[in-house]
């Protein structure tokens, strides 16, 4: 059977029982029994017997007297209004009965009242017209991912789908229903976010965005709706890039197996032709993209599936972590599943066709690499620029919208809300990290771009214009730079390394550490997750992930990684229960590590983890104790000094913290994080001028440390240096360094 038939739902596919490989796959993976696929029985098109009347016995009132019916007909002037509500108010329920009786008297015969009831035609004609829909399981798991994206409120990043052969009616239906439902799932999110989610779903299903959907709820901000529609109408058509995917999909289904495609392509273009063809395609697309703001991220479907899996894995809900769908997506993203001979199979090796291509042509770059290299090295920035340009073109509309928005005082509302959050959280028990993060989130939600932002959680964002791409040994170079403390340079070199060798766990790990030391936990987490993927048992990676998630106040994720660290540790693996728990309780994990510390009191790592754990539970005294113990064993570990300092700062011992940071900086002068932390400690003590100097110093070393920019801004305000806010907002380091020398 041709592949196309299978995936498009050609007649043979009408019976999704066994012949649909995607269905079979979903069954195998999601574990839903094949009973789900039970064929619907033949639905009769006519009914010979009738049960008319046999159920009417219980009806007490003759139908003609059913109240309310008269309103479908000209209203009789003599009908009295109900006194129901007077009845309510007087609590005299008998009035209602009176009212009812009164109404009953002037009975109206209705137009159809005389109809012989046993002759009402039964409705058979529209019965179950087509049960042969699209291959249900494909769609099912796809829609599943859409629905599941609501759990974490994460942007929905669909993978591209095979052609499904949806009818226009189906598309309309998907569009309308998913729009209405999305408003329920994403109640906390902005209308933009909801549209982003739904549009992501729709464009992947190749559903035309122009089909008019059910608008947003009127009544909430009806004035905004108009502007929303206007701005929507001005948006560039989103499907330019999809064309490529369509074409690709068509090519793919046109051949029975992936190899055939590759071969036939090679026949046409030679072994290296593919890459150049791809480049060619890309440049064409790029041109279109420049004109219309193409949705480039759609192209890297695999990468996105991976991101989706990661993002989903971040959700703290244990149920979610158990989600079968999540497992499905993870397997997909790791290429453990592939289409082969019309069957989904767990891949023997790395799986997807790109990898297969690579295996056959060792030495040639995969298209993914090529893509990453070409696109990501200069892509995201370019894309953002394009988008900004696009926005500028439509600036009038946007401004108008914003103005209108301010008029409605919505801005004030959120400003208030923000103020309230600051008052409650900023300098209280939650650490500065916490509220900066909350602020970030809030800002992100407000930003219309959010759903397309590459910088969202779990996605590694590569730098543009990387001079180390093409370097013969970027890893070695990166290690050297890292050792020298040139963190930003090291990041570039290591990025070049992982672009070249995406499976190099060490490259990703060091990249993650460089980011962590550069005070960028988001990128650190993204890199570490890639490292963990390449080497799931790497202890250093697991520990770093635990620490980074602790910094981001993500307890469940942090506990998960710290627990994994224990499990994979050769010495302590036996302590951990074999089956991984569904959810992690702090006390349980802490107990395991206490056991481990008793087993091996001289292992600094265990004490470090304990320190991190106590930070999670905010038992700072214990945490300080653990770190101090570890420092006795590892006095030259600058990151450990930094951890001690951060913990002391959190437990309101900022003066001690500064000492610890100083230790860290003595060992490693270019330790951006310690500089920034030093600034926080001064700020905590109310020494804002001092804190500014440290922030500026940290930023001079790594201008990309977004958190530090925000801290700096706060300190400038607190120190009444509003004159420098402009320099801060425009990130003008020259001015700042001149003004605040250290």
């Amino acid at each position: 059977m041709a592949m196309r038939d299978l995936v498009t739902g050609a007649p043979s596919c009408g019976e999704p029982s066994s012949s649909n490989p995607l269905g079979a796959l979903a069954n195998a993976l999601i574990g839903s029994s094949s009973k789900n696929q039970e064929r619907l029985k033949e639905i009769p098109t006519s009914v010979s017997t009738s049960s008319n009347g046999n159920f009417l016995g219980g009806v007490e009132e003759p139908l003609v007297s059913l109240p309310g019916s008269e309103f479908e007909h000209p209203l009789q002037p003599n009908i009295q209004g109900s006194q129901f509500f007077q009845g309510f108010r007087s609590a005299d329920q008998n009035r209602l009965a009176d009212a009812w009786d009164e109404i009953q008297r002037p009975q109206l015969p209705f137009a159809h009242g005389s109809q012989n009831m046993t002759n009402i035609p039964l409705e058979h004609s529209r019965l179950q017209p087509d049960l042969n829909g699209p291959p249900q399981q494909v769609l099912s798991s796809f829609l599943h991912s859409f629905v599941n994206s609501s759990h974490g409120g994460v942007p929905f990043r669909p993978a591209s789908l095979p052609l499904l052969g949806l009818s226009e009616g189906d598309k309309q239906c998907i569009r309308d229903r998913s729009t209405i439902m999305a408003r329920h799932f994403f109640a906390d999110k902005s209308e933009d976010f909801i549209h982003g989610q739904v549009n992501a779903l729709l464009s992947s299903l190749e559903i035309d965005n122009h089909v008019r959907a059910r608008g947003p709820v009127p009544g909430r901000y009806p004035e905004l709706e108009e502007y929303w529609n206007e701005s929507l109408a001005m948006k560039p058509a989103p499907h330019v890039a999809d064309g490529w995917i369509n074409e690709f999909a068509q090519n793919r289904v046109g051949h029975a197996d992936p190899n055939a495609w590759v071969q036939s392509f090679e026949q046409q273009h030679g072994a290296n032709g593919w890459a150049s063809e791809f480049e060619h395609e890309q440049s064409q697309l790029g041109m279109i993209g420049q004109m219309r703001g193409a949705n480039i991220p759609n192209l890297a479907a695999m990468e996105q599936t991976r991101m989706l899996a990661h993002t989903l894995a971040q959700n703290n809900d244990p149920k979610f972590q158990n989600s079968k769908f999540l497992q499905f997506v993870s397997k997909m993203s790791r290429g453990e599943i592939t289409i082969e001979e019309n069957q989904f199979k767990p891949a023997v090796s790395s799986g997807d066709w790109a990898a297969e291509y690579q295996q056959q042509h060792n030495g040639g770059q995969t298209w993914a690499d090529q893509f990453a290299h070409e696109e990501l090295s200069r892509g995201p920035q370019g894309w953002v620029n394009e988008f900004s340009a696009e926005r500028e073109q439509h600036g009038s509309v946007n401004n108008e919208w914003v103005n209108e928005f301010s008029k409605l005082n919505v801005n004030d509302d959120w400003a208030d809300e923000f103020g309230r959050q600051v008052a409650e959280g900023a300098f209280g028990e939650t650490s500065a990290d916490g509220w900066a993060e909350a602020y970030d989130e809030y800002m992100n939600e407000q930003a219309a771009l959010k759903q397309q932002s590459d910088a969202s959680r779990g996605v590694y964002v590569f730098s543009d214009l990387n001079p180390y791409v093409g370097h013969p040994n970027p890893l070695k170079e990166g290690q050297e730079l890292f050792r020298k403390g040139l963190l930003s340079e090291a990041v570039l070199a290591l990025e070049a390394e992982v672009l070249k060798n995406p499976e190099n766990a060490e490259g990703w790990r060091l990249l993650g550490i460089a980011h962590a030391e550069n005070d960028d936990d988001q990128q650190a987490i993204a890199a570490m997750m890639r490292a963990q993927e390449a080497d799931p048992a790497n202890l250093e990676v697991l520990l770093s992930l635990g620490v980074s998630h602790t910094n981001e106040l993500e307890q469940q994720a942090a506990l998960k990684y710290l627990y994994s660290w224990l499990r994979h540790h050769p010495k302590y693996g036996s302590i951990a229960p074999q089956d991984q728990p569904v959810s992690f309780y702090h006390a349980d994990v802490a107990r395991l590590f206490t056991d481990a510390a008793q087993m091996a009191p001289d292992d600094a790592d265990v004490h470090i983890v304990l320190g991190v754990l106590y930070n999670l539970s905010r038992e700072y005294d214990k945490a300080i104790e653990s770190f101090k113990t570890a420092l006795k064993l590892k006095p030259r570990d600058y990151s450990l000094w930094n951890k001690l300092g951060a913990t002391q700062a959190n437990s309101v011992q900022s003066a001690d913290a500064i000492e610890a940071y100083q230790q860290a900086l003595d060992i490693k002068p270019n330790y951006v994080r310690a500089w920034a932390n030093m600034g926080i400690s001064y700020a905590n003590q109310g020494m804002y001028e001092d804190s500014i100097r440290y922030y500026v110093r940290a930023l001079a070393m790594n201008p990309k440390a977004d958190n530090a920019w925000q801290y700096l801004r706060i300190s400038l305000s607190c120190a009444s240096r509003n004159d420098m806010l402009k320099a801060c907002d425009s990130r003008n380091l020259d001015v700042l360094q001149k003004e605040f020398p250290l």
């Binding site: 029985k41 009132e61 139908l63 109900s82 159809h112 109809q115 249900q136 109640a187 059910r214 149920k319």
Partner: protein, 316 residues
């Protein structure tokens, strides 16, 4: 506690008002976004599994079911294709549905049978209207069109045969008297969409509304300016709310946060029970009229649970 696995995603579950061991379940494929639907009639066996008495397939997803209060074998189903279908269990599936009422132009999201006069039922639809029907006329008796957005639910007053409430995405709940030309009361109950409403079974002036804002509010229609109670505890939109037929202040709700919650709106800590048994959105819940404390729920994890309040639904 018995469990039943449905092939499609559960959307609604209702106990029969005639047989204490009988249930109707509405299901829809692909979360009701696209595909077929099925109505299951289930029977609880003593200490045994749940057995399926009958099942009816539909071309589109089924979003809600309700039992006729007049005849023990009649079930009404709300379909995604805008039709309302009438099934007679005494006939084989091949002879069903015995009626299909097609007037709504959009998805029908809920149906509710009149419990007082027992002669009519309501359908609430995404076409912004509520319609009044009788089982033996193939055209609706009346259409109530005032809401400005999808109507997600309509519920009869348990005491007054002509009064009902409707819950809509236009952020209002409206109280209607079918003898009146327009709605009698507009209750701007929430700032966000309202997905469900239900009347107290002991006090005919008390109504509960459930909203996308994650809260349930309890109102007295005689004084609707402030709610009597605001019940917070769900983590996502609250999908359904039902008052207990046995205890005046008890209610049950289900939510997109995958939980089913029991509430007592009269006490300070209103949340008196939380059931975390579903692994996907919990969208259908009911309390048995005939057996006190017997609960049923269904969700997008394709499972129907029946359990006694206070027990673990998943206990074997």
């Amino acid at each position: 506690m018995p469990v039943f696995k449905t092939p499609f995603n559960g959307y609604s579950v209702k106990f029969s008002p005639f047989y204490e061991n009988r249930l109707a379940v509405a299901t829809a494929q692909n979360f009701g976004i696209l595909g077929n639907g099925r109505v299951h009639i289930l029977e609880l066996t003593p200490n045994g599994p749940i057995s399926e008495l009958s099942a009816f397939d539909t071309a589109d997803g089924v979003y809600d079911v309700c039992w006729s209060e007049a005849h023990d074998s009649l079930v009404i189903a709300a379909s995604g294709d805008g039709s309302v279908k009438l099934y007679d269990l005494s006939l084989p599936p091949t002879n069903n549905p015995i009626r299909s009422f097609k007037e709504h132009t959009r998805e029908v999201h809920s149906v509710d049978y009149n419990t007082v006069r027992k002669d009519s039922f309501l359908s609430a639809s995404w076409d912004d209207t509520v319609k009044l029907w009788t089982v033996d006329r193939n055209a609706s008796v009346r259409t109530f069109k005032e809401h400005a957005y999808c109507v997600y639910s309509a519920a009869w007053n348990p005491r007054h045969a002509d009064i009902f409430a409707s819950a809509s995405g236009d952020c209002t709940t409206r109280i209607w008297d079918v003898r009146e030309p327009g709605s009698t009361m507009i209750l701007p109950a929430h700032e966000f969409e309202i997905l469900a409403c239900d009347w107290n079974k002991y006090d005919d002036c008390i109504i509960a509304t459930a909203s996308v804002d994650k809260s349930i509010k309890v109102w007295d229609v005689r004084n609707y300016r402030v709610p009597i109670a605001v019940l917070n505890g769900h983590g996502y939109a609250v999908r359904k709310v039902r008052f207990s037929p046995h205890r005046a202040s008890a209610m049950v709700s289900c939510s997109y946060d995958m939980t089913v919650c029991m509430w007592d709106y009269m006490v300070e800590d209103a949340l008196i029970g939380r059931y975390d048994h579903h692994t996907e959105f919990a969208v259908g819940v009911d309390m048995s009229v005939l057996v006190e404390g017997l609960l049923a729920s269904t969700g997008w994890d394709e499972l129907v649970y029946v359990w006694q309040h206070g027990m673990d639904p998943r206990a074997p």
